[in-house]
């Protein structure tokens, strides 16, 4: 290539190394036994792999956006490495989804050619972070939840999910430690850092409940011993979240056992003046349950915030404007 034709080089290449994710590994599951366990619905398994893969893909992209914006060089490296681990997990999961779905799509098609409504990630991973405290609060929530989930996935009846879980546990252990240590450093720091960390911890809470709400697909795959029921992860999450916030001298309102399930965590239910059913779900004057977030439904069903559209516009721009491009 010459510098006069830099863009031509994107498509003028006989190597099969795509821009996808940078590594060019044609099939990250090459040589891995691709059998689907007996009695497992392929469509359901593909949908589940998409859920876990989309969580990792979108979270990874949000972390990448912090590179060149982190407070210290060491944190740039940490965030980039965490993003890379999650991208690796996303590749494996999207490849498994494509393989099981068997509809002629590959990991690239799934990552780059779907619209927002077809993504199955939880909304937590979409949010743009207002500051570094918001980032580490969100990363702690994500890593704590995902670590508990991956750890239980290691006994999945699907051998590929079990292998992805076992590998991911080792990685996400470091991600959670990184986020937890920053939450403690900021919370137990200066008055200013404490207050900003408290605000960040409070403001991430409305996004937490969705993580533990099982989707019908998940429940059907739990019955087949393939998937993890996310509602079983809540007590471990609450314990870790409480441990970190206590060490950080922060209030744990909203995450403590018994207070879970309320979307406006940070404000005690009674003080907010909202009548509460025994389940803890706030009820409007009409008796109709209030929406449990900014949008009805769940990210698992494709109900996303506008933030996901923004991410995809960036993430997919090259793939969509240069179909089949390589470098």
């Amino acid at each position: 290539m010459s510098f006069d034709a830099a863009y031509e080089a994107l498509t003028d290449h006989d190597d099969d190394a795509r821009w996808a994710y940078g590594t060019g590994f044609a099939d990250p599951l090459a040589g891995v036994d691709d059998t689907v366990p007996d009695g497992v619905d392929r469509g359901e398994l593909a949908a589940y792999c998409l859920m876990l893969g989309d969580d990792a893909l979108i979270m990874s992209h949000r972390l990448q956006q912090w590179v060149t914006r982190a407070p210290e060089l060491e944190d740039e490296l940490a965030l980039a490495n965490i993003a890379l681990d999650l991208l690796g997990q996303a590749r494996l999961l999207l490849t498994r989804a494509a393989e099981v779905e068997d509809a002629g799509r590959d990991e690239d098609a799934l990552a780059y050619l779907r619209d927002a409504a077809d993504f199955r990630n939880v909304r937590l991973v979409e949010r743009a972070d207002a500051d570094f405290a918001h980032l580490v609060a969100r990363l702690l929530v994500f890593a704590t939840w995902r670590l508990a989930l991956l750890d239980r996935l290691t006994t999945s009846a699907d051998p590929v999910l079990a292998a992805i879980g076992a590998k991911g546990v080792k990685e996400v252990t470091y991600h959670r430690d990184y986020a937890a240590q920053w939450v403690v450093r900021l919370g137990d720091g200066t008055e200013l850092s404490h207050d900003r960390m408290q605000a960040a911890a409070d403001e991430v809470m409305p996004l937490v409940d969705e993580l533990f709400r099982p989707h019908p697909t998940e429940l059907r795959l739990v019955a087949a011993a393939v998937a993890v029921d996310p509602s079983t992860l809540r007590s471990e999450f609450d314990a870790v979240w409480g441990q970190v916030l206590t060490a950080a001298t922060l209030r744990t309102v909203g995450a403590a056992p018994g207070a879970s399930g309320h979307p406006t965590a940070g404000v005690p239910v009674e003080e907010a003046g909202v009548p509460v059913e025994e389940t803890g779900v706030p009820v409007e004057e009409t008796g109709v349950p209030a929406a449990t977030g900014p949008l009805a439904g769940s990210g698992r069903d494709g109900a996303h915030t506008a933030a996901l559209t923004d991410i995809l516009a960036e993430l997919q721009s090259v793939a969509r404007s240069m179909p089949g491009g390589v470098w």
């Binding site: 090459a30 681990d85 670590l147």
Partner: protein
């Protein structure tokens, strides 16, 4: 030279003082006639060196006369730093990189949280001072942390136990 010996001598692109055998990512080399199937495992799920490793293995085996080379990946059992050989650990130390200690053994139950960076004694590969401190848990690659020695003031990398 056997295909296994050729594959074992290929250098790791991120830690070129190590061979793939030293690093413990070479899981199997199966020869049949003029064909070879090499099985490797990634250190981390997103390891960007996997493609280069695949190419380097293919090039080395072709140069050694094997016409058909296939490189496969296995995910399980997951790689652990315990698979870095004794020779590999010596080469890391000689290159100024602190080799990993034993990988953590987990008890049953939830994965334990580490709120304070490890105070386990990791000695300085430059001056041998036994007590060094962590600067960052992640370094130029996911598999290394960054530390410094309070005596000789030198920063150094440590291969993280996983």
């Amino acid at each position: 030279m056997t295909a296994a010996a050729v594959a074992a001598r290929v250098a790791d692109p991120e830690l070129p003082m190590l061979t793939l055998a030293d690093l413990g990512i070479l899981r199997a080399v199966d020869e049949s006639g003029d064909g070879v199937v090499v099985t490797i495992t990634p250190t981390y799920s997103g390891c960007p060196a996997m493609r280069t490793i695949q190419d380097d293995l293919t090039d080395a085996l072709r140069a050694a006369g094997y016409a058909r080379v296939e490189v496969r990946t296995v995910l399980t059992p997951a790689w652990t730093t315990d698979w870095i050989t004794a020779a590999g650990r010596e080469k890391l130390a000689a290159a100024g990189i602190s080799p990993p200690g034993p990988a953590p053994r987990r008890a049953a139950g939830p994965v334990p949280l580490t709120l304070v960076p490890s105070r386990r004694e990791i000695s300085c590969p430059q001056c041998g001072n036994p007590a060094t401190e962590q600067i960052a848990a992640f370094s130029a690659t996911a598999c290394r942390s960054l530390r410094r020695c309070p005596v000789c003031r030198e920063p150094f990398e440590h291969v993280k136990e996983i």
